[in-house]
Subunit: 355 residues, 2 copies
């Protein structure tokens, strides 16, 4: 059975790391005899915006909805299109319209990647951030009053639903249940954000009743970010609202030194719509065009995509391949961000060959 | 001229560190001939709540409004009073009613305090977080619909005003202007929180026009937290909304290893109402009653209070005193959190003597 993948490189280094992501996928597909068909799309990027005055064609939903997955590079080019326009016109539409209500990001120390934290080694840090990906603080409800005057007031509403909250909690509890430590941490701020967050705590407490084996704790987001730095070994599965999850899933990889290489899965667990896989890093205007972007984020995202599509073994083979290349640490192969003199291509090729 | 200080120990370790905070203040007042009068209050704590069913007497505002400053310990005892009730009934009331619209927190590597970050030494990290302290995400506007049913929707509004935003920006720019590096970083999330945060960016841009000497940059809050860990040396003055500032001002001290000892100033710059000074740490139910809480947060807060009251030299003397005691690092004096076997008292006494 052919699985169809929509390929969207996006902006900046998205165009440079995508070929390497595909190279790894093609290698592993060959080895494990997986039938993947890639179709390329040139929208959901700022170049498209420059030509058409919008980020995507009107029928984007129709064009993409029957794919088995979307493989995305990076989006955003603030010099020409403000971020809130490019993002709300592409990635954030995918997440909402394809109901990719789970954002899943691993935080893991890798061999050969330097962590900014003192005295941590591979194995010490290995957890997931599960982020609500469709509602909450990322709402488009609100507006301005007395605009442009001294009395100006600007309001934006956080909107949480039981439907939207319970399903992400369920996913997170299931994940925690499936892992050896069976531990779930909830990110809250019920002492300050006194309407939505105490309610979030109630939903966590209610859901935990269904998972007697999972041990649950919670931290306010302020001290939780502090604990990511001080005690990253405490965490197994961390569940958070859209905004808190956004923060924690950048901070977590930063603590492991992997922010340039971490992957992100935007999942519609029911499979009603395609899920989307992308590196955590953005389009990186500062290094775009130089051919030195680290392709591991794209490649690792490809591994998460394979796992989602039912090819766990192939996914593991990709992860094993880049871990091996990182362990070897040949400076001629590695990109400059991880202390090499190689290029996006040399690193991508080495990983594909290893597969 | 006598300056009158309202002393509110609050809950848990607040009661243990407060005497040491006062001891340091009394020592320095003596040395610099400063006339401070302390008056103690037993409200704004959960014990008071247990007796009266509320956190403070109805006339708290009248009782406190004419003081020159409020010296607070810590508040909260979640086993008996939910945090959102204790906090909204005390600290958050002070901040709002006394219009303490600036929350100022130093993030500084100290001698003898181990940072969780690799390869950082005193001098490398030294910045301030300036947090909006009265509005924004900490609003009480919102509510629930379809409560208790599957269709439940919970809404909380973020409310930002030009008045509230411009004044904290002005304070932050003034602070940046006064420092050698003259650098201001704004915390935003205008790519995701697409109503309030693009507007926040506009206000920052507008204010920066008045400060041609101050160099300004901005980061989205997700990558900003990552940069606190990866590049803490980049920062000089960081300005942020109420929630983002809350997060950054815990994360910053966590990166310097000082979360147990960092101070927090809640300032009404005009002096219309008393400002409030408190340690960043909370009431710490886990160690309360053991006499081992580190008093430096309270003592450092006292130093910030002195500076606010016009006694810069005395404030510096307190900071110099605890830095000296930390540098000496006598294990019999230091508390267990900083690798000593001493108590709250031994450390407090050593600092007071040094003053
Ligand atoms: C206790 C809590 C309400 C408070 C806040 O969020 O403002 C605290 O975290 C702080 O930073 O002073
Ligand atoms: C680009 C931005 C809108 C996005 C988000 O905030 O969700 C990004 O930071 C992410 O985490 O995927």
């Amino acid at each position: 059975m052919t699985q169809r993948i929509a390929v969207i490189p996006g902006d900046g280094i998205g165009n440079e790391v995508m070929p390497e992501g595909l190279r790894a996928l093609e290698a592993v597909a060959k080895r494990f005899d997986i039938d993947l068909a890639f179709e390329h799309f040139d929208f959901a990027c700022c170049d498209y915006y420059a030509k058409h005055g919008k980020m995507m064609p009107d029928d984007w939903f129709e064009q993409l909805k029957d794919f088995d997955a979307i493989f995305y590079g990076a989006v955003g080019w603030p010099d020409t299109v403000p971020d809130h326009i490019s993002l709300w016109g592409s990635l954030l539409q995918f997440r909402r319209q394809f109901d990719q209500y789970i954002n899943l990001r691993p935080c893991k120390l890798l061999p050969g990647i330097k962590s900014p934290l003192a005295d941590r080694k591979p194995g010490d840090i290995d957890f997931y951030v599960v982020r609500e990906n469709t509602e909450g603080e990322y709402s488009s409800v609100g507006g301005k009053m007395f605009e442009g005057t001294k009395r100006e007031v600007v309001i934006q509403e956080t909107v949480m639903t039981r439907h939207g909250t319970d399903r992400v909690l369920k996913f997170a509890f299931d994940l925690a249940q499936s892992r050896p430590r069976k531990k779930l941490t909830s990110a809250t701020k019920s002492n300050g954000i006194a309407i939505t967050m105490p309610w979030w705590d109630e939903r966590v407490a209610a859901m935990s009743g269904n998972y007697p084996e999972v041990s649950v704790d919670k931290f306010h987001i302020d001290i939780l970010t502090a604990n990511f730095v001080m005690h990253p070994d405490w965490f197994d599965v961390v569940v958070a609202s859209n905004l808190f999850g956004d923060i924690l899933s950048d901070l977590g990889p930063a603590c492991t030194g992997t922010i340039g290489v971490a992957p992100s899965a935007n999942i519609n667990p029911e499979g009603t719509f395609p899920s989307l896989f992308e590196p955590v890093h953005g389009s990186a205007p500062d290094i775009a065009g130089k051919g030195i972007a680290n392709p591991i984020g794209q490649i690792w995202s490809g591994a998460m995509m394979l796992e989602h599509l039912g090819h766990k073994e192939a996914a593991d083979a990709i992860v094993a391949a880049f871990e091996a290349v990182l362990t070897e640490a040949d400076p001629a192969v590695l990109t400059p961000d991880i202390r090499g003199q190689g290029t996006t291509q040399t690193l991508g090729q080495a990983i594909a060959e290893r597969v």
